[in-house]
Amino acid sequence: MKRNILLLLVIFVGIGFLLHAWPSFSQEGEEEAGYPTYPIIFTKPLKAVLFDHKVHVEKAGLSCEDCHEDIFKMEAGSTQQNEDFNMDSLYKGKYCGVCHNGEMAFASNTRCASCHIGVMGYERLLKKQHSSESSSEH
């Protein structure tokens, strides 16, 4: 009887440990890919711009050093604290505008909604993140 209880306890603890570790499993994609797999969202100076590492690494063939840390700091979303993080700076060849100048990549003053996902897109992403978080808790 005592052994049975001990066995059950071990199983429960095991399950608890598994569930606890679950969120970190989803981060494993990052280790494998070599870049952050979660969306980088800028909300300043306005909502919202979505940056996808996958497109820039796999399709555009960029390496980490191409942008980090000269153009963008490693810490996700930290660049938006800069006061000059706006479209004018991009047109002057700063930030995204280093490449998005119409020669290396499409110009910053074209295809607005490629990067700008808007308030609607931002809220959709938050909802998605929230629902994936709450499902991993159960």
């Binding site: 909502k47 607005c112 808007g118």
Partner: protein, 253 residues
């Protein structure tokens, strides 16, 4: 040789467009072409462009600006990024409650190749139609077309809240305001700004991307006039089939 071909083409008789399958006609329409003739047993088709139809300078619109000033808005819709600063400014300026709206932004996913799409945002607001269906529907004449500016306004005192105008509006741009106990809608900021000598509307002022161009369509020097009358620019209105003749125009670039 080519002369002979030209003569041969000219000698052909138009066999009539009645026998063309509607799918085929539609396929051409999508390309912006209208089939006007069928020749050589259906092997040759004569087509004309229907692109001009979407330009604003069709007889229906051109030089028919009965108001002074004839307030109008042009929306350069591909520049919209759904930051919703226009909506926020509108709420603040016109005291729009959280459950209501005077302007909104729609999201479109335009197909661009196999399994791909591009995002486009489209702001919408009251179109201040020349033939407003809401005005026709109102049983108490509470909503009316301002005889001077053409702005579609609501007289709160006359409104009985029957919501008939809400059902009649092709653009869903009216809501029932619980505080006013009346219908509320965009008035191009007439009460809050224009009547006080402030220009332009709150939404146009707040837009960081220059989407909303507001002005007098009857004034050839205004930007709205120049955009709408640019012969090389595609201009369209929403739901033209309603026959409401809107004063809110859409364009890209």
């Amino acid at each position: 040789m080519f002369k002979g071909f030209a003569d041969w083409v000219k000698s052909l008789k138009n066999e009539g467009v009645e026998h063309i399958a509607s799918e085929e006609r539609r396929a051409f329409l999508k390309l912006g072409l209208v089939i006007t003739g069928v020749y050589a047993g259906g092997k040759l088709l004569s087509v004309v462009s229907r692109v001009r139809e979407v330009y604003a300078d069709i007889p229906e619109y051109v030089d028919k600006y009965p108001y002074k000033p004839h307030y109008s808005m042009v929306l350069r819709t591909d520049r919209c990024i759904d930051c919703q600063l226009c909506m926020e400014a509108c709420r603040k300026t016109n005291h729009v409650p959280p459950y209501g709206w005077r302007t909104r932004i729609l999201e479109q996913h335009l197909p661009s190749g196999e399994g791909q799409w591009t995002r486009r945002f489209m702001p919408i607001l009251c179109n201040h139609c020349n033939e407003p269906p809401c005005v026709r529907a109102c049983p108490t004449r509470a909503t009316y077309k301002d005889p001077e500016t053409g702005i579609v306004k609501v007289n709160v005192k006359k409104c009985i809240g029957c919501k008939t105008c809400m059902a009649a509006c092709p653009y869903d741009m009216r809501y029932f305001n619980e505080e006013k106990r009346a219908i509320d809608k965009c008035d191009f900021c007439w009460e809050s700004r224009l009547s006080k000598g402030k220009f332009p509307t709150a939404c146009a002022k707040a837009c960081p991307a220059g989407v909303r161009i507001f002005g007098d369509l009857a004034d050839p020097n205004s930007r709205v006039y120049q955009l709408v009358h640019d012969p090389y620019r595609a201009i369209w209105v929403l739901r033209p089939s309603m026959g409401a003749r809107p004063n809110v125009f859409y364009t890209i670039n």
